[in-house]
Symmetry: C2
Subunit: 422 residues, 2 copies
């Protein structure tokens, strides 16, 4: 079992000790600026951490503290250093997407806490999507986030010196990466005690997955990319549970899985979770077909996410040819057509990576350890299994044939086909 | 200008202080085991470091010490930490290829020295090849070296945890990587004061290179691989000047450029330098055609290097399916044919990477900052230029069309064609 290093003064905080913690920090006291007693609430509903809200009359802060184990599974030790990676990720990206992440007030090395803006009235996007809320500005915001975080930490923009230094820091986020390596890229494809699925309905597909050589080769190719392609500083866990929304605002949270990896992994995580939401909608119908309009919105959003990401990324690249590759020192104005063509080839590869990673993320949420409320809230197991069957059948095709999708519309057309098949 | 961190007690050694240095170390004294005075010789003929031999009656050691600048260019500061990376590289690889590198006796953190076996009667392979010495065991040795160093530090063999830790160490070898990024992947393709070439004969090709958009896109793709593909722990500078040979023995030295990068970069460096030697031979003829037999041997060696590397790598992979990708947990015996096919696809990609990187290395030695004696010793500039023209013309084709070479024989056939063209 992994040995977790614990800073000497580390203690898990509670509603009482948190008040002393805040009062011991001038920067936090100043934000809260309260003469009255603080109201403390522990709201961590995730799998990993303690999350506290501290509210005064008119100011609030959110304090996130890791525990030296996985919260839902206490015999699974997990490094406290994950909050360091989360903090470093936010620090690096705040220059470009500060308005799309919570404001950071404090990082405490002893308690491993991150103190930040309490997001209100934001809701977890996944929960909103179960309620069929149309986040009409979401695609605009997330594509700004994706294009800027991925471009500005890539070798297309950074000098190699800066990028390699970042990689020295994040290559050490070994334990969190291992969770992904095991839960996303390995266990769903083999027999593992941590797997679960809607039995007995999905037994047949589970066995098909274990015996599909092409699929297993494809997932190993993706795993190899995850292990070897240090393309950009990724969020590493960019599903709809790591996004908080209002109708007007979008904030990305929880980047503790941050590492230098393939761009398509973040994009794929997002696409996967939008697709999961899509395939879950029929299971949430009260009257058959009452989710049709919402499903249509999801597919439009998926199309927008890729197309708008691609456009924004291309524009950033074109306007900032300052990195150590494809930089302006190599090319003159007459060569722009060819360079632009090369940029499009690059983006086409990212698109195919993204579809592969999306597929891996879809399969792990149906056959692996951690599932999503999108499907889990469908009480009727037979109906849930129907949704999950369609979703995983598409995922299998996406992973094996990623390169055959010419564009995102080809994918969303396939989504409709797979969803209407019975 | 870069600031070079210098350990407090660091001093460049000289013939006198080296004796005190050795006498201050029990481990070195024990090896030398001398009652008489040591004979000290400084033999560093490379561009970067001091290299001393300390000889007693019947024992010798070699002590390598970096200087805080590039030896041939004192106003180019360079980190002393490079000896740390060299030492770490040798430590990691010694488990598998210890017999193909010098024995390491000591690493001194203050003086940044590596004390190691003095290789005797070995000669620098490049020098031997100018003298047309056939190193008949070389292909056998170097393919063992390449296959083992590249396989055993890849994700095909290592657990991700170990590999990521190695990467934390080597991602920091920023300054040495930058030398490659600038001298190999950038400057030859643009106007740069550090470039030089055989003027005026090669002026036309130099301008063609600067204006060849396809080529510049290709070299940027390679540079991106160099920056982002953390595939194996590479030597990083595996030319024939980093190899010492006798007819029976081969030793690889000078891995201070070590970093996690694409496998094809080490293989390509080697292929490039064999090709450079080939194209230089006509320039060393005393009587026209007297190098034909040697040239034939070089081409056979090139074919052997790739084919034997591929075979050995495939066998290592097949016998050690224990890493975190393509491991035996995914596949059963019936799937072996498909897995073996996938291994071959993987090796085909490495082959194409290798040809691209080889081309980059050939071009940099003809148009960039640092040249090789293979061409430089050809006194007649017109003849040298003829050799360099053929070599660089092939390199341009190799870089742009790497993927069109089906196998190494297709390349060596092209070598003959380019060499006989006038």
């Amino acid at each position: 079992m992994t040995h977790v290093e614990i800073p000497k003064n580390y203690k898990p905080l509670n509603n009482e000790t948190l008040i002393d913690f805040i009062n011991g920090k001038e920067n936090l006291k100043e934000i809260i600026n309260s003469k009255q007693e603080l109201k403390i609430t522990e709201v961590g509903d995730g799998n990993l951490n303690l999350v506290f809200f501290a509210d005064s009359e008119n100011k609030s802060i959110c304090i996130k503290q890791p525990l030296p184990y996985v919260r839902v599974l206490k015999d699974w030790p997990l490094t406290l250093k994950r909050s360091f990676f989360e903090f470093e990720y936010m620090k690096i990206h705040s220059a470009h997407v500060g308005h799309l992440i919570p404001k950071i007030y404090d990082y405490d090395k002893d308690f491993c806490t991150i103190s930040m803006e309490k997001l209100s009235p934001h809701a977890i996007m996944r929960q909103g999507m179960v309620k069929r809320i149309k986040y009409i500005n979401f695609a605009e915001h997330i594509t700004e986030y994706l294009s800027k975080t991925l471009f500005f930490t890539s070798d297309l923009y950074l000098k190699a010196k800066v990028k390699r230094k970042y990689n020295v820091v994040f290559a050490d986020n070994i334990e969190l990466c291992k969770i992904t390596e095991d839960l996303v890229f390995t266990e769903p494809y083999i027999i593992s005690v941590r797997n679960r699925w809607t039995k007995p309905y999905l037994n047949k597909i589970k066995i098909e997955i274990e015996n599909n050589t092409e699929l297993k080769i494809a997932v190993n190719r993706l795993k190899l990319l995850f292990l070897t392609k240090t393309e950009s500083l990724l969020h590493g866990d960019l599903h709809t549970g790591s996004i908080m929304c209002t109708l007007k605002d979008t904030k990305i949270i929880d980047p503790e899985f941050a590492f230098y990896g393939p761009m398509g992994f973040d994009i794929g995580a997002l696409l996967a979770n939008l697709l999961i939401s899509f395939f879950s909608q029929d299971g949430h119908d009260i009257k058959k077909g009452d989710g049709e309009i919402y499903k249509k919105w999801i597919l439009e959003t998926i199309n927008n996410v890729w197309n708008s990401f691609e456009l924004k990324f291309l524009n950033l690249w074109k306007s900032n040819p300052n990195g150590d590759v494809f930089s302006s020192v190599f090319f003159n104005a007459k060569e722009e057509i060819d360079v632009e063509n090369e940029r499009k080839i690059f983006l086409k590869n990212i698109f195919h990576d993204s579809l592969g990673f999306a597929a891996a993320k879809m399969i792990r949420r149906i056959f692996g350890f951690a599932h999503n409320i999108d499907f889990e809230l469908i009480k009727n197991e037979k109906i849930r299994a129907q949704c999950e069957t369609k979703c995983s059948s598409l995922a299998i095709k996406m992973m094996v044939n990623a390169k055959e999708y010419e564009n995102i519309e080809a994918l969303t057309e396939d989504v409709i086909k797979f969803n209407t098949s019975d």
